[in-house]
């Protein structure tokens, strides 16, 4: 069973290392590294904001070490690229060695560029966006949900699209029976929704910390959960539309488990766990298990639909039990600003 065959990667390596001019190949690798470094940079640079800057080390030294850290963070990807490069170039000449070294050089240059352009080193960033338009009622709730995400919302769809793409390739690259094709489609579609919810939860947990004061207002935990889960479900609707290509039943089965996944995701945000990985990993793993179960028996999604009120009650209970003051102690205060709205 293949999602992407080995030959696919070898062909990519051939294009990059054999058929492209060295300078153009370097540029492609530089742009790829730039993208990866841009993702890694916020995590690496978070540690060199604030207090550490008063120590007597030059900002250039801070920047160079941060760039090195970002290159190290890319090591697994660089190793894979070099491996495939070596596979298509062998036997290796001295010119080929230079081409392979160019991979590391491109990563270094990209990391250094990202560090130079990153705002945290140039000036202390204040949390939260500029707000150009005010909203009321439910629109304000939606704004409170979307403003912390900004363009990050688009990134939430990436793992979901990868799952849908992988399911499409699995169906295209293998001779499957119609029933198996449909099950593969259900698996890809449900996993896509789950991964979307997991990434959304992770980003919201980091960028929209619990608003402790607002818990003193006359609004129940259940209302907060309904608002979060409702908005997450609305944002997941485009994924339902995309999975229609897997067959007529697939969007229906996926839609049935959407309330369950939305409530579970809203509940997963209500945690004081250190590190956002736990939220993404837990929600993602749950999505994987749900997708596997539904691939075996798609009608089980009706059971999940029926069990959604339980997920709602569980999420509301988690909201009530959450120690919001502790969350701020663990995530916001180490950042140096309790009200920054940008936790670690």
């Amino acid at each position: 069973m293949y999602v992407l065959k080995y030959e696919f990667f070898l062909r990519l390596a051939e294009i990059l290392f054999l058929e492209t001019e060295p300078l153009a190949a370097f540029l492609i690798l530089f742009l790829l590294s730039l993208l990866i470094a841009r993702i890694a940079a916020p995590r690496v640079l978070a540690g060199i904001r604030g207090w550490i800057r008063h120590l007597h080390a030059s900002s250039r030294l801070h920047q160079n070490l941060a760039a090195l850290s970002i290159v190290l963070a890319q090591t697994p990807i660089l190793a894979i690229i070099i491996f495939f490069g070596w596979a298509v170039l062998k036997p290796i000449s001295s010119g080929d060695r230079a081409r392979l070294a160019g991979v590391v050089l491109a990563a270094g240059a990209a990391s250094w560029t990202v560090v130079r352009l990153s705002r945290p080193l140039r000036s202390r960033r204040r949390g939260g966006p500029r707000i150009r338009r005010s909203f009321r009622g439910f629109a304000f709730q939606a704004a409170l949900y979307l403003r912390p995400l900004k363009l990050g919302l688009i990134a939430c769809y990436i793992p979901a699209l990868v799952s849908l793409g992988a399911a499409a390739l699995l169906i295209a690259n293998n001779n499957l029976k119609p029933d198996s094709e449909s099950r593969a489609g259900v698996f890809g579609a449900v996993l896509a929704q789950g991964l979307f919810m997991a990434e959304l939860s992770r980003r919201l947990m980091l960028r929209r910390p619990p608003w402790a004061w607002a818990r003193s207002l006359p609004r129940s935990a259940g209302q907060r959960i309904l608002s979060d889960a409702g908005l997450a479900a609305i944002l997941a609707v485009p994924l339902l539309a995309l999975c229609a290509r897997f067959g007529r039943g697939v969007p229906l089965w996926s839609a049935c488990c959407l309330p369950w996944l939305s409530f579970r995701a809203a509940g997963s945000l209500r945690t004081t766990a250190v590190g956002s990985w736990s939220v993404r990993a837990r929600t993602g793993l749950e999505a994987l298990l749900t997708a596997l179960a539904l691939a075996l028996e798609p009608r089980a999604s009706l059971f999940l639909l029926g069990a959604s009120p339980l997920a709602y009650l569980g999420a509301a209970a988690k909201d009530r039990e959450q120690k919001v003051s502790l969350w701020n102690e663990l995530h916001q205060l180490p950042e140096g600003d309790a009200l920054s709205g940008s936790g670690s």
Binding site: R126, G128, S134, F135, S216, G222, S325, L339
Partner: protein, 230 residues
């Protein structure tokens, strides 16, 4: 009235902050004093419904804060020590939210903002405000709907003299008119005259103390409570 019934609470399981605390906060001004970390602010957070007790229950006007969540909070106003407002909103949006939830017309929010010299900042994002302005914005929300229970954590911090006077006048007036006002403060003197009772927190329990009528006696008693000497 706010009642704590056998309330225990810990931020981390191994370190209990409040232990089987039972107390009743009556109308009038109650001063909660004590050294750092003794649990004063935690009592306020539990009374405001920000944190849920691990055991026991908190009642506001006889309603359980975690069972009748909406009704119990209807007459509550809480001012945290740190001006905790989301940076993803404007002042106007936050005031609008409070007006909607307390079922008050939006113009009440505008009036409250004017009282705290923030009417011009209506459309400013919270991130653009200073700490003092954020605190004033939270005071403005406390005015909306005339809540009968005011929970104020270090209410005079980060405020300029003029606003401090406005706040003290407002607290005195609300306490005289029968509201339950609970103040946690390291500044004793401004509240000494208007306090009906005072307490300190020791070993997870609140210890109330009678306040003498004469000013010097009062101040000295409050000083003792602030040092944790019950």
């Amino acid at each position: 009235m706010i009642a704590f019934e056998d309330v225990s609470f810990a931020y981390l399981a191994e370190r209990r902050v409040l232990d089987a605390l039972s107390l009743s906060l009556e109308p009038g001004l109650t001063l909660l004093l004590g050294p750092n970390g003794c649990g004063k602010s935690t009592i306020l957070k539990l009374a405001a419904g920000v944190e849920k007790p691990d055991r026991g229950r908190v009642l506001v006007k006889g309603l359980d804060l975690w069972k009748d969540e909406v009704e119990a909070r209807r007459g509550l106003a809480y001012l945290p020590e740190q001006a905790d407002i989301t940076p993803y909103a404007t002042i106007g949006e936050v005031l609008g939210l409070v007006c909607r939830l307390r079922r008050e017309p939006r113009k009440k929010g505008l009036e409250a903002l004017s009282l705290f010299d923030l009417a011009d900042e209506m459309n400013s994002s919270i991130r653009e405000l200073s700490l003092g302005q954020k605190k004033r914005a939270l005071f403005a929300t406390a005015l909306i709907g005339k809540p009968s229970h005011l929970l104020l954590d270090e209410p005079l911090d980060a405020l300029d003299r003029g606003i401090q006077d406005t706040v003290l006048r407002w607290i005195g007036e609300r306490a005289r008119n029968g509201a339950t006002v609970v103040v946690v403060s390291h500044e004793i003197e401004p509240f000494a005259e208007m306090a009906s009772r005072a307490a300190t927190v020791r070993d997870g329990k609140a210890v109330f103390s009678m306040l003498p009528k004469d000013r010097d006696g009062r101040l000295s008693r409050l000083e003792d409570l602030a040092r944790g000497w019950a």
